[in-house]
């Protein structure tokens, strides 16, 4: 292993919160009591939660140490396919902390919240422009909730047509949230097998699309990193038979300013602002999943909606056909603000370059690895490339083991075992913000892992060996769940 890729640094242990502290300590600056005490009836009060009492320094050390066991985009290359782990600009964090926004109450009267409403109004317009659709809701909290919102709109649309439908077409390459979101609306997912080239074939869709089918959910580019070339034809088939086309926009990073989904037959599309629009993922969220729709579907969008009248903005609820509210307030405003800042930083030309370089980086990695890893589909990719562990079968080394070994080299592993259509999938999405040198390092590391698979499989099976912990026993965790301490 190259000497430059990591050191045996000092990793400090840190107990659980409640294994620290002492009763009577407090890490919080209690405001002075300037009013008389007023006791609640004792039958209403309890003993208070059994929290540990910690001093400020203990809290600070605890979380600082925990943070050192984490790996983020700021630490290094994070090529998780389908997750678009691009750099998260620091200025956006600073702007989200501005008191005018961070301290703003969601139920302020419109006249007292013009700054936030204007920002939301403009962001909706920007996203409509980028997607080629007409109207946008910013309310959904994440991609999956965007999908749910989209499916609620599909449901409301068919209801308004006078006949509800029962099924929905979902390609076999789709993310798990697609069928789960459709099922919440009572639609039975019908899997659509992708063709030999990894993309959908119109004749297959035509064979499945009937008058009981509400529409199709398409991810484009799909999760194999391939552009659905037949999308227009597929959309025509679905539309002709009364269905709607839902676009999962999780992979929009490949086609910003290059393809407008609304112009190629997509009726409804969600975006993942925490992927394409650079907002940080926070170790699992929060994200944001705005939904854009065709003009005639705008009446179904969630309430409240931001409207403008003579330069003044307000939130309005009087949309009788709306699917309703999907979140208590107006969406993850703090995330929306970061995406807005990102869009203003990139400008129209910046976006096109983002997608070009994202696709260039993915193809560069693909080229660098395709002679040692089996390519699932032997053709150029869009923003991500998918391999499998087929070449390593003989050595008895799996995708999981190679992924764990990459950690020892200082890289976050790719997405593994997804999409499900590729056995032992390894899905690499480098994103546009990575330098050529870092990609070279990653390619070199992966090639080295592949070499080890043949020459020294033991070291791979032992990986990772340089983290805070060795390989963790996930089976035992699920067999005897211990979810609280």
């Amino acid at each position: 292993m190259s000497e430059t890729l990591g050191t045996t640094g000092l990793i400090l242990n840190e107990p659980l919160l409640w294994e620290r502290g002492k009763k009577g300590r407090c890490g919080y600056s209690m405001p002075a009591a300037d009013v008389p005490q007023n006791l609640l009836p004792t039958e209403l009060t309890g003993d208070g939660p059994d929290f540990p009492d910690l001093s400020e320094i203990e809290v600070v050390r605890h979380y600082t140490r925990l943070s050192t066991w984490n790996f983020g985009v700021d630490t290094g290359l994070y090529p998780l396919g389908s997750c678009t782990m691009k750099y998260n600009p620091k200025i956006n964090e600073k702007l989200a902390g501005l008191r005018g926004f961070a301290a703003a109450h969601p139920l302020l009267p419109s006249v007292l919240s013009q700054g936030a409403l204007r920002l939301m109004f403009d962001l909706e317009r920007f996203l409509a422009e980028i997607t080629g659709l007409d109207a946008v809701t910013l309310q959904p909290a994440a991609g999956a909730q965007g999908e749910l919102t989209g499916m609620l709109i599909v449901h409301a649309y068919h209801q308004a047509q006078g006949k509800q439908r029962t099924k929905i077409l979902i390609p076999d390459t789709a993310h798990g949230t697609n069928p789960a979101s459709a099922a919440l609306c009572g639609y039975a997912p019908v899997p659509v097998p992708s063709g030999p080239d990894g993309i959908l074939l119109p004749e297959v869709v035509a064979g499945l699309m009937d008058s009981e089918t509400a529409g199709i959910m398409i991810t484009n580019p799909n999760t194999l990193g391939l552009f659905e070339e037949n999308i227009r034809e597929i959309a025509r088939i679905v539309h002709d038979r009364g269905g709607l086309v839902y676009g999962d926009g999780a992979n929009m990073n490949a086609v910003l300013g290059i393809v407008k989904p609304g112009e190629i037959g997509v009726d409804i599309l969600h975006l993942n602002l925490h992927k394409t629009f650079s907002t940080p993922h926070g170790g699992g969220g929060p994200g944001a999943g705005p939904v854009a729709v065709r003009k005639d579907l705008a009446r179904f969008l969630p309430i409240p909606r931001v409207v403008e009248r003579n330069g003044a903005y307000e939130l309005r609820e009087d949309f009788p056909e709306s699917v309703g509210r999907v979140l208590a307030f107006h969406g993850h405003f703090g995330i929306l603000l970061r995406a807005y800042a990102y869009i203003l930083s990139m400008g129209p030309d910046g976006f096109k370059q983002v997608s070009r370089l994202a696709v260039l980086n993915a193809n560069y990695v693909r080229e660098g690895l395709k002679d040692v890893l089996h390519t699932a589909y032997d053709r150029p990719c869009m923003h991500e490339c998918v391999f499998s562990d087929q070449n390593q079968h003989e050595a008895g080394i799996t995708t999981l083991e190679m992924a764990k070994r990459l950690i020892d080299y200082g890289y976050h592993p790719p997405t593994i075992y997804f999409p499900l259509v590729v056995h032992g999938a390894i899905m690499i999405e480098p994103t546009e913000t990575e330098t050529k040198e870092d990609l070279d390092g990653f390619i070199e590391a992966f090639r080295s892992v592949v070499r080890e698979a043949g020459e020294n499989p033991e070291v791979i099976r032992e990986a990772p060996s340089r983290c805070k912990v060795k390989r963790l026993d996930e089976t035992a965790a699920a067999r005897n769940p211990c979810l609280t301490g």
């Binding site: 659980l16 919160l17 600056s29 209690m30 009591a33 300037d34 009013v35 007023n38 309890g46 939660p49 929290f51 809290v59 600070v60 979380y63 066991w69 790996f71 983020g72 998260n88 702007l95 005018g100 926004f101 961070a102 301290a103 109450h105 007292l112 919240s113 700054g115 936030a116 920002l119 909290a141 909730q145 449901h155 789960a180 919440l184 009572g186 997912p189 552009f227 300013g257 393809v259 940080p280 170790g283 699992g284 969220g285 929060p286 509210r325 999907v326 208590a328 995330i335 129209p348 370059q353 070009r356 370089l357 260039l360 053709r379 150029p380 983290c467 390989r471 963790l472 965790a477 609280t484």
Partner: protein
């Protein structure tokens, strides 16, 4: 562009490596009739400096304290956030990581969320808690769908004293399912009419909120007993998590599932989001829980470590049969809540909750003395419903010019409470500010 590191030389070399001439050749797979040939109609790129000035101006058009005095709660609360929480939460190892699919590389997040689950369970008096949901409203909707799964019944009843927006979200989630939603009315006391529970057959769940939307403290135990008598689960909601520093926990009063909003625990209001959906249950319902769970395990050397677990409930494994469609959650907000709960500790959270209560009672009493109507006479926490002598709405409007936001007018959601408003006081509200409000009300 500073976020794009490629030099012209890099691009040339990389294109050469993949055997292409120009960047546009990368899109050969996109058919001509799928291409957008124009230029996006977006504003020209701004420098960091211009951007800061522009967004700073927008932020300047928002009414926030200290320039404004706000007595506004209704599901979003003004609590002081310790500098430690903001600072620790800003550590980019936490902020810029993804969901911990590779646990060895994300033990910081995983231990942090395991601790969050534990503190949440202790706060709510439950045995298990999930890793987070989007907000209190979606947590409540998911809790009710969970009750439908557990009981196999297709009907749920919601108290009218649950936050109106939460009820709207539940309706949205239920609309396409065919499950029935009923409403339980309120009494003149501002409390849910729990006698009605017994009148409804075959309920999967009864849901109420305590403290409820009006700030009134419900009799959760009594409601749980009635629900259980009919074979239904009791889902207890909340919007003000800090209340449980002082009040009995819902779990200690018979709730089966607890779902609510954790924004009070160290999360900025941020115009309503991101916030924190908290969801907890009894252990027997663990496998019906929606969303992610972190569990403790061991590594190969026998050392303690943490992983995402019970994933067979989730969409990436079970697809349409999953217990929920949720994937990304509000993890970083959960971490903030854990930091906040850890900073307070048992001693601190009790003292802070009591202080919040004392302050709200101070304003309530002062307004009453000044001739205002306190609509519900029972005990409340932090919030209460009030009528002003000359009418609520008119005075509320007038006070906006004085830079006071005197709560939330209730008429839009509760016609029976037209001309009443919901006022909120937390520890950030000084006696002086409250006295000023009272003076304005009587003048």
């Amino acid at each position: 562009m500073r976020y794009l590191p490629h030099t012209d030389e890099d691009i040339t070399n990389m294109l050469g490596a993949v055997g292409l001439k120009g960047l546009d050749d990368l899109f050969a797979a996109v058919p001509g009739d799928c291409r957008f040939e124009g230029t996006l109609d977006l504003p020209e790129a701004m420098s960091e400096w211009d951007l800061e000035r522009h967004i700073g101006r927008l932020a300047g058009r928002m009414a926030v304290s200290p320039e404004y005095n706000l007595f506004l709660g209704a599901g979003s609360y003004d609590h002081y956030i310790p500098a430690t929480v903001s600072s620790l939460l800003g550590r980019s190892e936490f902020v810029t990581s993804y969901t911990p699919y590779q646990p060895e590389m994300l033990q910081g997040t995983l231990q942090g969320i395991y601790e969050y689950q534990t503190l949440t369970a202790r706060l709510l008096g439950m045995e298990v808690a999930t890793a987070s949901h989007y907000d209190g409203a979606t947590a409540l909707a998911e809790a009710l769908l969970m009750a439908v799964r557990i009981t196999g019944r297709k009907k749920a009843a919601l108290s009218r004293a649950i936050h109106p927006h939460y009820r709207q979200v539940v309706r949205t989630y239920f609309a396409p399912t065919g499950y029935e939603l009923l409403e339980i009315p309120c009494l003149e006391t501002g409390l849910t009419d729990i006698d009605r529970i017994g009148e409804i057959r075959d309920l999967a769940a009864v849901a109420l909120q305590s403290p409820n939307f009006f700030g009134c403290i419900e009799n959760v135990q009594e409601a749980a007993d009635r629900a259980h008598a009919g074979g239904a689960l009791l889902v207890s909601g909340f919007t003000e998590a800090l209340a449980f520093g002082l009040l009995k926990s819902p779990g200690s009063q018979g709730a089966d599932i607890v779902a609510g909003e954790g924004q009070s625990l160290g999360i900025p209001r941020s115009f309503g989001g991101p916030a924190l959906g908290m969801l907890a249950s009894r252990k027997q319902h663990m496998r019906s829980l929606p969303g992610r769970l972190v569990g403790q395990t061991k590594d190969r050397d026998g050392r303690r470590g943490f992983v995402l677990t019970l994933a067979t409930r989730e969409q990436h494994i079970r697809r349409e049969k999953a217990t929920s469609n949720i994937c990304s959650n509000n993890s970083l907000c959960a971490l903030a809540a854990a930091m906040y709960m850890a900073s307070l500790g048992r001693t601190g959270i009790r003292e802070l909750a009591a202080l919040n209560h004392d302050k709200a009672e101070y304003l309530k009493n002062a307004l009453q003395k000044a001739g205002c109507t306190i609509r519900f006479s029972g005990p409340t926490f932090n919030e209460f419903v009030v009528g002003f002598p000359g009418g609520f709405d008119a005075l509320h409007r007038r006070l906006l010019d004085r830079k006071i936001v005197a709560g939330l007018p209730l008429g839009a959601h509760y016609p029976e409470l037209a001309d009443y408003g919901l006022l909120c006081v937390t520890e950030t509200c000084s006696r002086e500010e409250m006295d000023r409000l009272v003076r304005e009300v009587v003048s």
